[in-house]
């Protein structure tokens, strides 16, 4: 292809490209803008509901986990809080086998 032909070809392309590129959009601007504006409303509302739902789910999950954890926890309270400890004599030793089972050892002298 000669330089002149090349130049003509490029000019032809530019003209065709200009014509092709300037075609109007398939969707008119006023319809597109309305459609986009309606999506903006949805998008503003959706996250708000989503955030509320997510926050509520987190609160329930944390509360549930805390309750389960409390139930599963071994009783760490001191036995004295479960059963009133009687006043012991000096020769009595008290052992707690568990929170409900006291064992008293009474030390006596053989004489």
């Amino acid at each position: 292809m000669s330089v002149e032909e090349q130049h003509r070809s490029e000019q032809g392309f530019e003209e065709a490209f200009r014509e092709w590129g300037r075609r109007p959009a398939r969707m008119p601007a006023h319809i597109a803008s309305q459609r986009i504006a309606s999506k903006l409303d949805q998008r503003r509302r959706k996250p708000r509901w989503r955030w509320l739902a997510a926050a509520a789910a987190i609160v329930f999950a944390v509360a549930g986990a805390w309750l389960l954890w409390q139930q599963a926890l071994p009783d760490s309270r001191p036995p004295s809080m479960e059963i009133t400890q009687p006043a012991l004599d000096e020769n009595v030793v008290l052992w707690w086998l568990d929170s409900n089972t006291p064992v008293y050892f009474v030390i006596t002298t053989s004489s």
Binding site: E10, F13, A16, R23, A32, S33, I36, R43
Partner: protein
């Protein structure tokens, strides 16, 4: 004298347009969907034209819609309201780039015409088939130069690149087009 009056009218008209744009951008930044709708009205056609030259007819309008919704969410980050047009064009351009990179890998072989069939290339291939042989940035630069008639600095602002890059992209695009039109580049 007449020219002076004409220039004054033009300046006041442009300044009015600019004031209106600034007002709409400010309202949109405060959360007014109606103001944003009017902004979309003003830029829709231009953005679709740009998008169409980068990704083709089928996806252009969807991408512009996505880009405009992204722009709405990012409105507060726009510092210079007068630069709204270039700012929103950059958002759409970046989306188009991502999409164009995505489907470049899957370009079907039968969409590439055989070299022997080339006669008057621009007629036989069609504009889009020629454009699709260029890099997406080259398509965008060529579009803004030829279709929109923008200057290098305006193109640089709209695409978020340097003016020197604009010139480089345009030169490469024209070289590649010359090859394609000559039937050597396929």
């Amino acid at each position: 004298m007449t020219r002076c009056v004409h220039e004054q009218t033009l300046r006041s008209t442009l300044s009015g347009v600019s004031d209106e744009l600034v007002g709409l951008v400010a309202s949109a930044q405060e959360g007014s969907p109606e103001a944003f709708r009017l902004l979309v009205d003003g830029c829709w056609e231009r953005l679709v034209r740009l998008s169409r030259s980068i990704v083709g007819e089928a996806e252009a309008e969807d991408l512009v819609q996505e880009g405009l919704i992204a722009a709405w969410r990012a409105m507060k980050s726009l510092r210079n309201p007068e630069g709204f047009d270039a700012w929103v064009a950059r958002i759409v351009f970046r989306r188009c780039l991502r999409r164009a990179r995505g489907f470049r890998r899957f370009l079907p072989m039968d969409s590439i015409p055989e070299r022997s069939s080339l006669g008057n290339a621009e007629e036989q291939l069609g504009i889009w088939q020629l454009l699709s042989r260029l890099a997406p940035r080259q398509r965008a630069v060529l579009h803004l130069t030829i279709v929109e008639g923008m200057t290098d600095s305006e193109i640089a602002g709209s695409l978020g690149i340097k003016a020197a890059s604009v010139r480089a992209h345009r030169r490469r695009a024209k070289d590649r087009l010359a090859q394609l039109l000559d039937g050597r580049g396929l």
